[in-house]
Symmetry: C2
Subunit: 235 residues, 2 copies
DNA sequence: GCTCAAATGGAGGAGATTCCTCCGCATAGA
DNA sequence: TCTATGCGGAGGAATCTCCTCCATTTGAGC
């Protein structure tokens, strides 16, 4: 954790004043919330308002919308990677690690934010690297859980990712945030019970079985086979 | 099924010309799709375009946005009620009926449309009656499945409804509709396996246990206890 | 404390979106 | 054939969102 001038991006060369750093972080947090609630097209004025700063401050810190979204994504991917590797190291068995990671990821909000950013993000090397690291860490957990037989054999990493996307988006309706959070964790527990291997033989799952890589490729292309089968994985 | 001038609402007294009836149905279908994709605030121009009619035709058939939304909701609630009672009558056991209804409801899109309309609907007696009928029919299935022990004891009708809401919303990203549909059904199968009673004792579920009635009350109030527990059921 | 480069807020013009009426033309139905 | 009913889409009004500009405030080094 270097104390040198941050170089998160290529841009920020100058050292920021303390209040500017604080405002920058508030803006990132507000952006996360607003993107989850309103999508990637949310008015920037709203983000500034929610962060408690003027709109000019937002534009001073992030030259335009893509720059802001880029920083939000990088930040989240880093946290996700950290949670995933920690989970696998800290939990005694792989399924527990999977459950722990998913609950943490739910709180991070990554599975609500990242999908909303699809098609809006400038996919530069920095971002692709971060995404690869995060995907790899999560894949490791899924692979481990499958290897020790605790995860259903017909469940793919794509299923895990997409189910989390469904759980992470706040429910429409007047649920206060705390209720939404609790319901999401409750429903995650139910879903986890569906993911666990059972003694009785499983009925085969219908529908496309997608890997995590298929999902990553999705973020870059809109080309899908007509029949709805997963696209060819990239190499 | 009377052949008299339809009186779906209080308004349409005059018999519609054949092409007008056709356009009305196209508009309702397009409205369903667009509401699911873009929410209840979607531009009416887009709905008209998708239906293949001019914007004037939409305004001629539905005086304003609330009127259109009202008709969409009524239509869906009716279909849902029908599917629910059919399922319970036609399937040999209650869990199969539940599974069948949920798959059908997914295809209807009711759980994607109705939540998007919360707060936008004029809740008149006609609509409340339709909603009550639909809720009752679904509750009957859930109660039957719980009674015969096939549904987990700690799962409420609210859980079932909310899980379907999560599954019914199209995933963000460039999934073509057919893929979205298949993924939703696949994930519903996984969720159903989580809802089924298991031999092994279940870990207790955290989070608020809500009934279907709690959800209905939600559509009418934004008042929630501070601690995130479900609101008092109305009587 | 003093000083000043750095940071701040919010007004407001430009441009984009959306609503919804109006009116001349087309067509279903008898 | 005839006409009441229905149709499409242009376009003015109202609203929303972006993003710059500048007078004022503040952090931090001396």
């Amino acid at each position: 954790m270097p104390s040198e001038p941050r170089a998160t991006n290529a841009a920020p060369l100058r050292r920021l004043r303390a209040d500017a750093v604080r405002n920058r972080e508030r803006l990132l947090a507000a952006a996360r919330d607003v993107i989850v609630e309103q999508g990637a097209d949310a008015p920037l004025d709203e983000i500034a308002r929610r962060a408690g700063v003027g709109i000019a401050t937002l534009y001073r810190r992030f030259p335009d919308r893509p720059a802001l979204l880029h920083e939000v994504a990088l930040d989240l991917l880093g946290r996700s990677t950290h949670e995933a590797s920690t989970a696998l190291a800290a939990e005694p068995d792989a399924f527990a690690a999977l459950a722990r990671y998913l609950h943490r990821a739910l709180d991070l909000g990554i599975s609500a934010v990242m999908p909303a950013l699809i098609g809006q993000l400038r996919l530069d090397e920095e971002l692709l690297t971060a995404r690869r690291a995060s995907a790899k860490a999560v894949e490791a957990i899924v692979a481990a859980a499958r290897a020790d037989g605790s995860l259903r054999g017909d469940v793919t990493s794509g299923d895990v990712g997409l189910l989390l996307v469904r759980l992470a988006r706040p429910l429409p309706g007047p649920f206060p945030p705390v209720v939404n959070r609790r319901l999401a964790h409750r429903h995650l527990d139910l879903v986890l019970d569906g993911l666990r291997s059972r003694a009785a033989p499983e009925a085969p799952l219908a529908g496309p079985a997608m890997t995590f890589d298929d999902l990553a490729a999705m973020a870059e292309t809109a080309a899908w086979p007509r029949d709805g089968s997963p696209p060819e994985p990239r190499t």
